[in-house]
């Protein structure tokens, strides 16, 4: 009667996981004033809302590591999120062989090692997918509020540009703004 020999392999690896997501859009600014002036007004409005100048761009970091990057000249917006995590992944496999040593056992050990590697890979991918989902959820959670805020910012810039334009055309007699409806009435004497 032959004896069975157990081969058991266990491995633990450290993985640095990274996940990111981003979305881009462009603010729809009306050409009321020359582009450079519109860009200035947009930059001022964004700074008022907590954006910080970094090179040509304005940046702000939201909750959950989401960053908003706006180029006031082109009015391009990029919202992105990046997550990093180091995880330790463990896997264990065992098999039985009839030979205590030699090529049969080596082959069994080799095949077991390959299976173990696949397990580790699968687990790492699952963890990465989880991290990616978290990153996407964080970004998605910010988008709706951000969209509203950027719409408001564009409305403010439009109103400021209209006031400047009106001042160039004549003397402003009266300005009335309704914050709720966003309407702006300028009475001019030309």
């Amino acid at each position: 009667m032959s004896r069975a020999y157990k081969i058991s392999l266990k491995q633990r690896t450290k993985h640095g996981l990274r996940a990111s997501d981003e979305v881009g859009t462009a603010l729809e600014l009306l050409e009321i004033l020359p582009p450079e002036r519109m860009a200035d007004l947009l930059a001022q409005e964004l700074k008022r809302r907590g954006f910080v100048q970094k090179g040509d761009k304005l940046l702000r970091t939201e909750k959950g590591g989401v960053t908003v990057e706006i180029d006031p000249k082109s009015a391009d917006v990029i919202v992105k999120v990046e997550c990093e995590k180091t995880v330790t992944i463990e896997a264990e496999r065992q098999t039985w062989t009839e030979s205590p040593a030699g090529s049969a056992q080596n082959a069994a050990r080799k095949s077991l090692k390959e299976e173990l590697q696949r397990d580790l890979q699968r687990k790492a991918e699952a963890q990465k997918a989880e991290l990616q989902k978290r990153a996407t959820d964080r970004l998605e959670a910010q988008l709706s509020d951000l969209r509203k805020e950027l719409d408001q910012a564009v409305n403010r810039v439009t109103a400021e540009a209209l006031k400047e334009k009106a001042a160039r055309l004549g003397q402003i007699k009266q300005i009335s703004e309704d914050a709720q409806t966003g309407s702006l009435t300028i009475v001019l004497e030309v």
Binding site: D21, E22, V23, G24, T25, V77, V79, A129, Q132, K133, A135, T136, L139, E140, L143, S144, L146, R147, L150
Partner: protein, 343 residues
Amino acid sequence: MKAVSGFEYNLLRMLRGIVTQVSPEQILPILAKPVQRPPCLSADAVALVKDILAKGMVRWLARHGWASNRYLREGVPVSGRLWERTPPELLGLKFSRWTLEFLLQLMSNTLGAKKPQADELELGDRLIFLHSYQAVRGDERAEKMQNHWPSLWSDGLCRLFFVEELIDAKTLTRIDWSPWLTEQGAAILESMQSALAERWEHLEARKQTFRDVVKIRQFGASQARVLGEYLDAIDAVHRRDLARCLLDAGRRVMRDRPTAHRWIGNLDIKRERIADRVLIYRDALAFLHALDRLRAWNEEASHVGYFDEGYVASQLWKAVWERFDGDATTNHAAEILREARPM
């Protein structure tokens, strides 16, 4: 009386089926039993092939071109039926040896044994390929045609008609639009406008059943490429009036004022990154993006003054635009595109 062999008899039946576009049930059984091709066809059989092509294709053209319409001829709108807009002698279709060679290969299940070069093909050949593919669609022979008859892939009209089936894999096949932009080719293209519109309407309706992201991306990418290239090609030869099919299809699709949900609501995107969702939506809405381009064309047409070059053509464009509710159609399409933006 003409006498033909059994093989020739089946070939003639199949050709008649293809030309008259009868139900595939009449053609597929013939193709189901491939027969070895004879070394040559009898003179009687060749005469009958010519007869079927001559009568059948004229009948087919008449069926599609009877409606009175206005299209450009050398920059000037001309009204009437197809044969009133273009002299009938210019509408005569030519067929090269490749029509018969294609039919013989189809019958003997040796498709692709010899393949034509693009410059060897006549318009008549191209129409026969289109009709044949139409006849075998949904059957395994359609796949064989796709795999073994490259002319399908390089022909502009085939790509327009079967945009969801002729999807390029890794390498893109160059699409040759030039045969359909010659005087004769464009005249045939004019008569196909309604058929194309109807087909694209059905394709857009089919998209709402898709759940698979990969499928919609392939479909949309093919649509974006084919429609984009088509619009580029007709624009280059100053034949924007040939975009009527797109406008017509757009009106049909937007008739019940759908929302973006129709295109993207059923897609399984939960696991997709937002960056990828943007691309998925872009492909799912490829047809609407193409409509957006027509809006820009209409804007241009409305700025062409009486003394400007292209005034008459722009007037025709505006008339077509109104007839197909261009503003309502493209505004609604733009609304859907806005709705599908992630932010």
